[in-house]
Symmetry: C3
Subunit: 180 residues, 3 copies
């Protein structure tokens, strides 16, 4: 015969455990890539590919200047004047990103890339390709895209678009969320 007091305790525990299971972080890492500088974007992709290789589900949200790192071309036609100006001033691809310190009109970025190559460190473009292979989800921030007048055709293929709700949906259940 079962004991009603014990059964009650077990039922209460089951409820609490189910609640805990819904609140404990998943195997998930979420990054906001706000910066559009080679050094910071590199750090983001090193962490993202490392986490994906360790079995984490990785989402990268590209917003503000970070969008410049996932451009594949620049379009001008049909844009407002300010949007054209932004497009003209922004780096047209990851290969043209400046570094955040000692850039000296691009010499710093070239130097960093050269030093990485000398040490057989993967380039940003290698890491991006690796990230795609590892199933990293890349999301363009819809608000940034709209404000800067960027078209999906200007961004990497296979990118999703999402707003702050999509970002928080992933971040709130992540072990690690970083703003880079």
């Amino acid at each position: 015969m079962s004991d009603p007091a014990l059964e009650e305790k077990i039922a209460a525990l089951e409820k609490k455990v189910a609640d805990l299971e819904s609140r404990v972080p998943e195997d998930r890492v979420t990054l906001v890539v706000f910066s559009g500088e080679l050094d910071r974007v590199l750090a983001a992709f090193v962490i993202a590919t490392g986490a994906a290789a360790m079995g984490q589900q990785v989402s990268m949200f590209f917003t503000f200047w970070g969008i410049n790192s996932v451009r594949r071309r620049t379009l001008y036609s049909g844009k407002r004047l300010t949007e054209k100006m932004m497009a003209f001033m922004a780096p047209g691809s990851s290969r043209k990103l400046p570094v955040s310190q000692m850039n000296y009109f691009g010499i710093g970025a070239k130097m960093l890339r050269g030093m990485m190559k000398n040490n057989n460190v993967a380039s940003l473009e290698d890491l991006m390709a690796l990230g795609k292979e590892l199933g990293i989800r890349m999301i363009a921030c819809t608000m940034s895209r709209d404000v800067m007048g960027i078209r999906d055709a200007e961004l990497f293929e296979g990118m999703d678009a999402g707003g702050v709700g999509a970002f928080l949906g992933d971040a709130l259940r992540s072990r690690v969320t970083l703003f880079i």
Copy 2:
């Protein structure tokens, strides 16, 4: 009759579950706003108001240059010379924050605000008012305030003041903590 072995197991589980409940993250998001640039402060308030709208308890800690985003006026009398210099050089309100890239003596900030308006995106000041309505807790870092000689009367009304202990008290039980 109850079974002592089972009762013991249940008691052990209850203890473990209570411990887990104290360690699992709460529905809480904590942001450090270290930067005083329009684009970064905007990102902070987009995330903060988004999280509050999704039912998270949100705390924003304004420190270093971030304090400039929550100023309502600048006072000079009774300050040391260095404090006066800081006050003079700092943007006197959120409307005067520069952007982190392509600022060009304020043209970049104006352009960003114009582009946001063209796309019907809420302004920083709208987001700040929304944050207040949504019950976001805004805390001025006491150390930054003291070091820069900023008075509470220079900051938004209704702000709390707190140190690193207050920040960590919130951060350690948050689902997401970002340094912006």
Copy 3:
């Protein structure tokens, strides 16, 4: 006599609780110090020492420009030309770090240090010594070290070296992870 149905439920709960225990964050805080600016490095050490004082196990990963904050001297011999250039341009110790805003060739950094002293706020070097006493683990990013050609003899004594795997190993089980 025990009840097999109850025993089964308890066994299932024990399994779930053990799984939760492995997934809930530890009392741990992990920081990436990417920036090499006095104000940001200060913020990192204020948070790190605060967290350690509150009983958290703290790890700080110094990468890219952040490495400049944990240098104790600069060596030139045996380095490649680009590595020598980097070494020459980088601040040779924490005392030479610039501030991220209003640096004016070092005046800003001196002014910030003076204002901190006036308010009896611990200097960066005090916080670093405190961090060591509190058992904060400091790790130099191996990739940054290799790319910039920095030798261990140029860095603080007692530092560990580690890559993105070491960082994520700590970060994934932390309550708070920040990218500074």
